[in-house]
Assembly symmetry: C2
Homo-oligomer: 316 residues x 2
C-alpha cells in the first residue's frame, strides 16, 4: 500500500481534485466537477463532500491509501474558516468550511488542511515547479483578482490570522483607480483582468465605437497575431506589474518571483516589459540573481499544492 | 561572573555602545564616540575597534564577562559585509566590515555579528519594547532614510542576500517624486526628513519668501505650539505614511507595526492621521487587532538589538 494525498482546489467555476503520491511528487489521477457557486454555500459544500467521497471510494480498490486531504480556497483562510472569498458569491463574511465538511462526513477520519489557493500554488511551484530548489519565493496569481503567496525559509507566511500575502492590495498609485477592496491604486485594480480588458478598449478606438468587450485570452491571441492595440495593452500592463515587482524585490529580496494565473498566458508580451520596468526601479543589489518566472504546473497547481501542504502538515 | 554582550550602533554621527545583560534584559552601561564618517572607512573602523577594546578593558575589572559582540549598521548587511550604507560617506560599494574589525584585533577571540540597524531596532522592540509578546512584527524607522525590519514567527527576514525589509523603497505613487535610489514615488521620497522639510516650506508662504529651512524637530515644536502649516505638514506626511501602513498590513498581516526614527517625535500629530488613512485603505480583516505603536526604547534601541541578536546567535 502506498500513501496518497487528496488535493482539492475550490474555484469559482470548478472544484479540481488530484490524487497525489508525495513520495515521488507525482499526480496519480485528477478530475473536476462544477462548483455551482451560484447555488450557495450549502450546495458547494455538498459538492466538495461528494467529490471527496467519490475519490475515497475509487482509492479503496487501488494500491493507494488516502492518508490526508488538502483544500485550496480563495480568500483569507484561518483554522479552517474561509473569509472574503470574492469569486464565490454568498461567501461574504466567514464560512466555517472545515466544520461544514466534517459534519457531512461523520464516519470519515481524515486529517483535513485548508489553505489559501495562491499559497497552495506557491507550495506546488516550490516543491516541483518554477521555484524548485529555492527557499525565498514570492508568488503572484494574476486573474480577475490578484493574489499573492510568500515563502520565507521554505515556509509560507500566513500572518497574525491568515491575511498575509495580499500582494494584489498593495498600493502602487495612491491616487489611482478604485479597487473592489475599497482602496485606490491597488495592484489588482491596475492589472486584474477587468483593468486589462478596459485598457484594450480604450487603446482600440474601433472597440470604443462598437462597444465590444474582449476577454484577456482573446486579447492575448490578437497580440500574438501582431495587433498593435493588443500588444500595447500587455506592455502597459507589464509596466504596472514591473512597478510592483520592484517593490516586492525591495521588500523580500526573494530568489524567485513566480507569476501564475490566467493573465500570464500572454507570456513574454507581459513579462518582458514587467522585467524591464522592475530593473529601472529596484535597488540593484536586490535584483542580483533574482528570477522572474512563469508558473510551470498549470491549472492543477492549486490542488497539487493543497495536497503537498496537507502531507507536510501530517508530520507535525 | 555574569555573561554580558556588547552592542554597537554605527550611525552617521556617533557610534553608540551598550553593555547588555541578556539574562535580565538590562543595559548595564552605555556610551558613545563620534563616528568621524567624513574621515573615511579606515578611520571609522579604527574608532569602532578602539571603542570595543575600551569596553573590553573596562569589563575586565567588573563582574561581567563580555561573551559576544553585535554591531548594527545602516545598509544591506550580508555575512559581515556592509553595502549601500547611505549615511556613511565613502561606504558606497562593499565594505567587508567584519574582516576589517577582526584584522585589527588579532588577539581578541570574540564572536561578532553584524546586522542591519533597523533589524536591530525591531529585535530590541520585540525583546523588551513596543512589540514585546508578539511574533509578527514590522518596523519602520523614519528619518533621512526610511528603513524597515520584518519579523515573522519571531525571526528576522533577511532575504536571499540581506536585502529584505527595504520598506522605504516600496512604491506608493508610481509617478511620484524621484527617490535617491533611482525609483519614483518611494515611501522614503515622500515621508523622509527632506520631503517633510520641503512640505513645510511649501505650506508656509513666509518661509518661501525668506527661503529659510527648518529641521523636522523644529517643525515638530512649532506644530505642538499650534502652528497651522506645521500641523498640516505632519498630517499630510501621516496620510502618506498611512498609505504604506495599509500595504504593509495587507502584505504581512502583522500584529504590531512599530514606528521609530527621529520623525516619530512628532507623535500623535503624525501617527493619528496615518492610522486614519490606513483604516480607509486596508482590508478590514487585516486591520483586526493590528497595533500601530511608537518605538519605546529610544536612541539605544539599535545597540540593544545588536546585542540581543549577537547573544541569540551565540547559541546556534
Amino acid at each position: 500500500m502506498r500513501k496518497a494525498v487528496l488535493g482539492l482546489d475550490l474555484g469559482g467555476t470548478n472544484i479540481k481534485s488530484v490524487l497525489f503520491d508525495p513520495a515521488i511528487d507525482k499526480i496519480i489521477a485528477q478530475n473536476q466537477i462544477p462548483t455551482q457557486a451560484g447555488s450557495g454555500v450549502s450546495r458547494v459544500v455538498d459538492n466538495i463532500v461528494s467529490l471527496i467521497k467519490d475519490r475515497l471510494d475509487t482509492a479503496k480498490g487501488s494500491r493507494h491509501k488516502i492518508t490526508s486531504l488538502g483544500i485550496g480556497s480563495a480568500g483569507l483562510v484561518e483554522n479552517g474558516v474561509v473569509r472574503n472569498s470574492p469569486n464565490l458569491p454568498g461567501w461574504q463574511g466567514s464560512v466555517p468550511l472545515l466544520k461544514l465538511i466534517k459534519d457531512r462526513m461523520p464516519g470519515v477520519d481524515l486529517p483535513i488542511l485548508i489553505e489559501n489557493d495562491v499559497n497552495c500554488l506557491v507550495a506546488a511551484e516550490y516543491a516541483m515547479g518554477a521555484a524548485k530548489g529555492y527557499s525565498e519565493v514570492v508568488g503572484l496569481a494574476i486573474g480577475t483578482g490578484v493574489g499573492g503567496g510568500i515563502m520565507i525559509g521554505g515556509r509560507l507566511v500566513t500572518g497574525a490570522h491568515g491575511g498575509a500575502g495580499e500582494l494584489g492590495h498593495m498600493t502602487i498609485k495612491m491616487d489611482g483607480p478604485l479597487c473592489k477592496c475599497g482602496n485606490h491604486g491597488c495592484l489588482e485594480a491596475m492589472i486584474g483582468t477587468e483593468a486589462i480588458t478596459e485598457r484594450y478598449r480604450s487603446l482600440n478606438s474601433k472597440l470604443k465605437i462598437n462597444n465590444l468587450k474582449f476577454t484577456v485570452a482573446e486579447i492575448s491571441v490578437r497580440a500574438k497575431r501582431g495587433e498593435f492595440a493588443a500588444i500595447k495593452t500587455f506592455s502597459e500592463t507589464g509596466k504596472l506589474l514591473g512597478v510592483a515587482l520592484a517593490s516586492i524585490a525591495n521588500i523580500f529580496n526573494p530568489q524567485v518571483i513566480v507569476l501564475g494565473g490566467g493573465v500570464i498566458q500572454a507570456g513574454k508580451l507581459l513579462i518582458d516589459p514587467a522585467q524591464q520596468e522592475m530593473l529601472k526601479r529596484v535597488m540593484p543589489y536586490n535584483a542580483k540573481g533574482l528570477k522572474i518566472r512563469a508558473a510551470k504546473l498549470g491549472p492543477a497547481a492549486g490542488a497539487v499544492g493543497a495536497a503537498i501542504l496537507a502531507y507536510r502538515d501530517s508530520f507535525k
